[in-house]
């Protein structure tokens, strides 16, 4: 089945040690998003790619970066993780930036990567 796959599902890293989370999609969608979700809170959008165009949310810390080498893959890099960065990180995709009346759903989500910081 076409889907959004996140690896690994669980990631443990040390305080200050760079970490990379990955996301791949078989939907051939143009847009890929990264969200941060802390315990029992709403997902918070960090940034998104529309094709190769990167769009950062205004309040996303500089510590968070992203790469999209091709349509299928997108990476989240945390340069120097702090204890406050422990969270679930969700990747999502959508066909386009703008919803259309015939869209089944705006965004398709992966199962997330739970990041722990030691």
């Amino acid at each position: 089945d076409a889907m959004v796959i996140q690896n690994p599902r669980y990631q443990v890293t040390q305080f200050g040690k760079p970490v990379t989370l990955s996301c791949s999609q078989t939907l051939n969608h143009n847009v890929m998003y990264w969200y941060q979700q802390k315990s029992s809170q709403a997902p918070k959008l960090l940034f998104h790619y529309y094709d190769k165009d990167f769009n950062n949310e205004a309040d996303t810390p500089d510590n968070f970066q992203s790469r999209r080498p091709n349509t299928s893959f997108c990476f989240l890099d945390i340069r120097s993780p702090g204890l406050g960065d422990a969270a679930m990180y969700l990747c999502a995709t959508s066909r386009n930036l703008w919803l259309r009346g015939d869209s089944n759903q705006p965004q398709h989500f992966g199962d997330g990567t739970r990041l722990s910081i030691l």
Binding site: V4, V31, Q41, P106, Q107, D111
Partner: protein, 114 residues
Amino acid sequence: AQSVAQPEDQVNVAEGNPLTVKCTYSVSGNPYLFWYVQYPNRGLQFLLKYITGDNLVKGSYGFEAEFNKSQTSFHLKKPSALVSDSALYFCAVSPRAGSYQLTFGKGTKLSVIP
């Protein structure tokens, strides 16, 4: 700015009873409205959406939602709750212009008691 409110952090309901999870929204113009469900350690799964048309929208797993423009609400409902419905439910909105950017409510934890 668009916003979504889910006034209840938790909803408890007995198995077999009807359930309602509340959502109100604030957006300029007419909204696109969505409900997602999240099971533990999983991503968000789409349940249903309101774009236009009938105010009662039917979605996955027997869920439905009622759009009420005058009350700016989009409550999620199910006639008979199952234990397997226990999860975290998120309401989300995007403006009619159709921006990709979903604004999520803070979520409501639904517990269905056997």
